[in-house]
Amino acid sequence: MSTAPVPVALNTFREAVRDRVLYNLIFFALLMMGAAILVGQISIGIDRLVIINLGLSAISLIGLVMAIFIGVGLVSKEMEKRTLYSLLARPIRRWEFLLGKYAGLVLTLAVNTSFMTLGLAAALFSVGRPLVESDALILIAVYFILLELAVVTALALFFSCFTSPMLSTLFTLGTYITGCFASDIRAFGELTKNPTLKIITRVIYYLVPNFHNFNVIAAAAHSQRIPVSLVGYNTLYAALYIALLLVAASAVFSSRNLK
């Protein structure tokens, strides 16, 4: 197995750090501090609920913005700046380069998400609440957010292999939003009497990733049970979807002329 993607991934992570991408953590820390102070004053007994809801939503949203905006630039920036030329003249296959760039951004997102999770834990601690067993649900919710971000990154990378950064952003965002409502779209199709619409909604349902299944923020906040099977199912679903997207992206990128 070639190790060529490893230095590419580490360099992508280093680029994110040097471009001060992780500065978003300051924003998150301020948000958590503000929430902890405010919640203590305006809510009685629901401070945990509010902080977990707000914290996990912020982790998801910040991660999403990073995954889309950095994801669409992973390849296009290298092509535009021509930093790719001296790299691809080396013994590295194009799919290895793509895999490295992808892994680098997922690593960045994982580090970023980990720090934000620590911030969330600190906020919960600061409202004087001891850790309880059901807090493990927060970790599952964070894990699902990471899986979701990994799929979104793969989508952004895939689109950026054959279209401009602006269109890639639109396509990725569009697919994400559609994916969040995939089940509703299918349900709508089933209700209609129009057979064409039924087929279209069914195709959309199977084509776009179903992000609804990754959202367990409410369950984690309300300490509701999350089935273990869902962890396995979501992991497998995300892995398959990511693999398909990366294979498709590699196929497109491997035949592309670098002008």
Binding site: D19, R90, I92
Partner: protein, 319 residues
Amino acid sequence: MSTPAIEILGLTKDYPIGFWPKRMRRSLDALTLEVEEGEIFGFLGPNGAGKTTTLKLLTGLIFPTSGTARVRGRFIDDIGMHREIGYLPEQPYFYDYLTARELLDYYARFSNYTSLERRERVNRLLERVGLAAAADIQLRKYSKGMLQRAGIAQAILHEPHVVFLDEPMSGLDPVGRYEVRDIILELKKQGRTVFFSTHILSDAEMLCDRVAVLAAGKLQGVGAPGEIVSLEVHAMDILFELRPGQDLPPGLARNITRLGARCRLEVPEAELYSALDQLRRSEARILSVTPVRPTLEEYFLRLVGSEQAVSHGVEVTLR
């Protein structure tokens, strides 16, 4: 017979232009060429001639419309070929958030060196290209010349057998150009093959074992600079001195250039003996008779047409 370092076999590249209707523009037309192991090979041509296209095809950055090429016996679509080559792109741009040391270390990781080997190799290269003092400064603070040096360092970092350099002298001051020439000659001494494109003809004339001239995507000629320029003698140059008070021979006077006490006369080869007879009769002292051969620049200009060469930014020496 040994395998050539580079074999280009009818490489052709068409680019689509326009949106609707889509048309094809031929950037490189059936280029066939061989470069021997250990040669310094110059690839000359005005801007837009197809030089960079050829280098991108050879390094696998773009794909040929037809034809193929081999580098040390390996086809260009073989990943193993990439272990044999080093490449300096035209106007190189690197990750500007890295320092030169980090950049070279990054590239060295693709050649499976140990960390100790990487460190030693990187330090040696930084020293060699004159960037040791600036090794830990981010590339975003580098001048164009410094970036070019970093580019050359990354191209030869892994000691490739064949080095492709796209306009390696571009953006360098005279000292930088001298140093790059020195590096190219050193690579030759180490037995490596250097294939470089340039539009600075004096560099090619000074360095290359052989050159190829490309214009509008077509190969115009290949040969050693010496062979090319000695193909024909188009005049003879006679250097002589006149005695004090002596007049110039009347039949030759209008063709003579005075250089202080000395005079220079350029005559067609066929008229050499008649001119010498006249000078002898005038009791002039003949100092030297040398054939005047076209320079590589003149050869180049004749092939691509002087107007085209100048309008496409070929750097020529005005005489």
